[in-house]
């Protein structure tokens, strides 16, 4: 985790010791050129793309194995429309959070506060005072709390120059504390005026009668995330800053502002996930989002994103989420205990990563010969 933090220290050192560096920002065209170069070197251009593809292939392999196991052990229940809906719906909440987490980790940071932010946002959005403003008020409140917490994280990390690990752990503690404080430990349910939100979870509100709105939100967030990460300057800068923040800064990128925005994106994703959780459970509680940070980080990592930043794919993260949700589903279908589930999860994380490494190495080997 030596992403922006480590470099930010160098950055301050540079500013203090050699004023020449900070006094002369490169001209605009130079900035663009170096930025592109940094992006290319930081991510090794085409080979990165292929590597990403391969990592995804490994995960798809794991997913296929899981589906076969599920279909063999519970043939009557696993491959049904209803069960696929359950898996996708359960994947959608943690999936949206994982999209935000992927941005932060590729950008060289870490966000340990996502679970706590979700708890706070669901609680704040379901207080009686918020519910007075109707469905719109609930949605706005969840998004505002999510983005607000993300901005606080980002401001302290980028401008307060404190390590992301510490800042987001502090947010983890205080956001959950505030959630318990506001809710008083109660589970707050949506009142009858806001049933429109709850109805979105019911079958008669599915799109074309088949597709749950939650899964659509998930798909839209993933699609938007993919476009932003792979087809915009913002996305390319995220790779550049995560790969080499010092080079990015010398190239004239506003590393601090970009870092701030990364945590705001993660906060926004938490806000969206909170609304989805409220739809799913018709309630908000300070116990929500427990250990989401670990689930999201695990999904991002088995998805092939480097924990040190600069490299990764969004599709890999989404596949990671699907793998975990499918494992849960198969275990519950087969009446296996939570303890066995945890053991299997750990084993599968290791197998998936080993599998990816093997594929990547074979590819590298065949490329060299």
């Amino acid at each position: 985790m030596t992403g922006p933090e480590g470099v930010r220290a160098e950055e301050t050192g540079a500013t203090a010791n050699s004023p020449a560096v900070s006094a002369a920002p490169p001209p605009a065209d130079e900035q663009g050129r170096v930025e592109a170069a940094a992006a290319a070197t930081g991510t090794r251009g085409l080979s990165r793309f292929r590597l990403g593809e391969l990592r995804n292939l490994g995960l798809i392999g794991v997913l296929v194995v899981l589906v076969v196991v599920g279909a063999l052990t519970r043939p009557a229940e696993f491959l049904t429309y209803d069960n696929v809906v359950v898996i996708l719906t359960l994947a959608s909440v943690i999936g949206v959070i994982t999209v935000g987490m992927t941005f932060v980790i590729i950008g060289g940071g870490i966000d340990l506060s996502v679970g706590a932010i979700v708890a706070l946002a669901t609680v704040w959005a379901t207080t009686k005072a918020t519910q007075v403003y109707g469905t719109g008020g609930v949605i706005f409140c969840a998004l505002a709390v999510g983005v607000g917490c993300g901005l606080v994280n980002g401001l302290i990390i980028a401008y307060g120059r404190i390590v992301a690990f510490i800042v987001t752990i502090a947010m983890l503690a205080s956001a959950r504390g505030l959630a318990i404080n506001i809710s008083g430990g109660h589970t707050q349910t949506l009142n009858s005026d806001n049933q429109a939100l709850v109805n979105l979870g019911y079958k008669d509100h599915f799109l074309f009668g088949r597709i749950p709105p939650l899964v659509i939100i998930f798909a839209v967030v993933v699609a938007l995330g993919w476009v932003v990460l792979n087809r915009t300057t913002y996305g390319r800068r995220t790779f550049a800053i995560g790969g080499n923040p010092e080079a990015s800064r010398l190239a004239g990128l506003n590393v601090r502002l970009h870092t701030l925005l990364l945590y705001a994106v993660s906060g926004l994703c938490c806000g969206i996930a909170s609304i989805m959780l409220i739809i799913m459970t018709s309630s908000g509680t300070s116990a929500n989002g427990n250990l989401y940070e670990l689930d999201a980080i695990a999904a991002v990592i088995i998805g092939g994103t480097l924990l040190s930043g600069g490299r990764g794919t969004l599709i890999g993260s989404v596949l990671g989420v699907l793998v975990f949700t499918t494992i849960n589903d198969i275990f519950t279908l087969n009446n296996l205990t939570t303890a066995t589930q945890q053991i299997a999860k750990g084993v599968i994380i290791v197998i998936a990563v080993l599998f990816q490494r093997l594929l990547a190495e074979r590819r590298a080997g065949s490329g060299a010969s």
Partner: protein, 349 residues
């Protein structure tokens, strides 16, 4: 940084902080949970002649962090009950799930020389030495629910009966099914002894009905979100069954939501603990939830009463004993539509 850049950043910073402050002011108005018309909760049953004010008693209360509806109700019941007596002075510590922190809080109460200590430990085993210290210092300890390792660490134990909770749930389901059918169980956190006891009681009760088969079981985490997730999966695993026992009404909010989302009505559900939302639902009879098995948080109110009696050297006038009993085990009643009105005033939110 050039001056124009600096100005730019400053302006942006100003705009940003302005927006944040505005959003904050708007949002701060939304954290209230106060009911427009605050109903006074019905007072607990009167205490008879023992209720007359007597010697002043200082009661120290240490509980775990109230991050769950039931635990929250424990704290509220204790405070409310202490408020009823002019001769009880309640010193309540901020709840903590950390054994070391709770130990230091109890030590503080011992140092303040309270007359009686009421302790609901985060973990009974870990808190035993601390409770013994209080007993050795001459302060009688009332152990609430999660039992200490040795009887030397408490004067009186008051708590629920997890085994009988499962037993009562199982027997109610068995009778309602007419001794025949399939059952699914949604348990709480599996590593906790209380979950294991509830499940054991449930299984033992089902043994009375050889034609009832438990076909599925999953463990949620006592919260809404895992209740919804595990229930959604259980419903897929079992396209048809006759009854469901859910250990905890807090996770039951999520479980009920999953059942509504799946559009299932082929079974009935029995809850656990006795949350207000569950009892409201039972009263209205608007869902598959037909009953809930109590695990009464009023035990905290009882503990305050017993602490007061202990401090004033009084006895329970309805018993023939000349001393207060050393253990009081509460009964886990089954709340149904027929008797819900009796229990609704004591339900927790």
């Amino acid at each position: 940084m050039t001056s124009s850049q600096a100005r730019d950043v400053r302006r942006r910073g100003f705009l940003l902080s302005g927006t944040l402050a505005g959003a904050g002011a708007l949002a701060a108005a939304c954290t209230s949970n106060a009911e427009p018309e605050a109903k006074a909760p019905a007072a607990a049953t009167a205490g008879g002649a023992n209720d007359k004010p007597g010697k002043k008693v200082t009661v120290g209360f240490a509980g775990p962090q109230a991050d769950h509806g039931w635990l929250n109700a424990i704290n509220e019941q204790a405070k409310k009950e202490a408020g009823r007596y002019s001769d009880v002075d309640l010193k309540i510590t901020e709840g903590s799930n950390d054994a070391a922190q709770q130990a230091s809080q109890i030590q503080t109460l011992i140092n303040q020389k309270v007359d009686v200590l009421v302790i609901l430990p985060a973990d009974g085993k870990q808190m035993t030495p601390t409770a013994r210290k209080a007993m050795d210092a001459g302060i009688p300890v009332i152990n609430l629910d999660r039992v200490f390792d040795t009887a030397q660490a408490y004067r009186i134990w008051i708590g629920g009966d997890n085994y009988r909770m499962g037993l009562n749930a199982g027997n109610y389901i068995g009778q309602r099914l007419g001794g025949k059918g399939t059952v699914v169980e949604l348990a709480g956190i599996d590593t906790l002894p209380l979950t294991q006891e509830r499940s054991k009681g449930f299984d033992d009760a089902l043994k009375n009905y050889p034609q009832i088969k438990k076909v599925g079981r999953a463990a949620a985490e006592f919260n809404v979100q895992t209740g919804q997730a595990r229930m959604a999966e259980l419903l897929q695993a079992h396209p048809k069954f006759d009854a469901l026992w859910n250990h905890d009404d807090d996770q039951g909010v999520g479980a009920l939501q999953a059942i509504r989302q799946a559009g299932r009505t082929d079974f009935f559900m029995v809850g656990g603990a006795g949350a207000k939302s569950a009892m409201d639902s039972i009263k209205k009879d608007d869902s598959v939830l037909k009953a809930t098995v109590l695990y009464p948080p009023t035990m905290a109110a009882s503990a305050i009463r017993v602490a007061r009696l202990l401090g004033q050297s009084k006895i329970m006038s309805d018993l023939a004993e000349q001393e207060l009993p050393s253990s009081i085990t509460l009964f886990s009643a089954v709340v149904t539509k027929q008797n819900v009105d009796t229990y609704l005033p004591f339900a927790f939110e």
